[in-house]
Symmetry: C2
Subunit: 135 residues, 2 copies
DNA sequence: TTATTTGCAAACCGTTTGCAGAGAA
DNA sequence: TTCTCTGCAAACGGTTTGCAAATAA
């Protein structure tokens, strides 16, 4: 891996993700960055996001209506429980995992739940037979 | 809505989805369709998929590595609990929802679980205040 | 016969890449 | 000074669209 330079563009992107502390789309990030660096190109944001991913400072998610979101990495482990607003399309973290208690808590806090989705991934029986390919 | 014609292309696409009975990507569908209709264009598949979606015969999901999947509609309600193979990238339905028991069952059946994701969507507090927009 | 559907090619749009100049170290 | 990063413009790839020929009804 090459050495990394600290440009104001990269610092700005990182600080936006840190402050929002929720998954953001490229367009959300761009809208905020462009206020402070009016001539910034979207490719610069894509490249910096890529660099932050490689540095393991942020995570990437494919959520909702096929949009891609990035979020500052959680302290301990990757947090992958989201709540998505059907209206404004923003994505928020869920406080915890157990689903039923959690839904009740969400509703008490004023979020109107429409549906939930559970996604589990790993290696299926067929593929597990074929190879021991760990990663 | 206009009248719908039953072309062999559309019948074929629908029957492929019915037989597989799991979420399939456009490319998976295309690979099977092209065997029987060699000159078919992908745009024809996209258009037929769109028509089947409008007819409420199939569902659409954005899963895994930003891929889009389509699956024949379940009898009762929309089934949105998937299990995804990290290796072959195929997507299968989960038999039921409650997550812990389910993970145990999956592992007993030989699926190696790497991670799971819970996604809940609805209307956030802020948006709920603004408007009473039901859909 | 006639209106919808098809195959083809071009357009579209989010993302990626090549490149010369700007800027960090 | 040197080498990475930026802004710009063009390329890329999955999806959509326009159009004339094919086909279901």
């Amino acid at each position: 891996m090459e050495s990394q330079r600290n440009t104001k563009q990269k610092q700005l992107i990182l600080s936006i993700l840190k402050e929002s502390n929720r998954p953001m789309s490229i367009n959300e990030i761009y809208a905020l960055v462009v206020l402070q660096v009016p001539k910034i190109a979207k490719s610069t944001i894509y490249r910096n996001i890529d660099s932050l991913l490689n540095q393991n400072l942020i995570d990437k998610y494919h959520l909702n209506d096929n949009e891609v979101f990035y979020r500052i990495k959680a302290d301990s482990h990757e947090h992958k429980h989201f709540i998505i607003c059907d209206d404004c399309k923003k994505v928020f973290d869920l406080p915890s995992c157990p689903i039923h208690a959690l839904e009740n808590a969400m509703e008490e806090e004023g979020f109107i739940i429409k549906e939930h989705l559970i996604q589990i991934s790993g290696i299926c029986k067929t593929c597990a037979k074929g190879h021991t390919k760990g990663q």
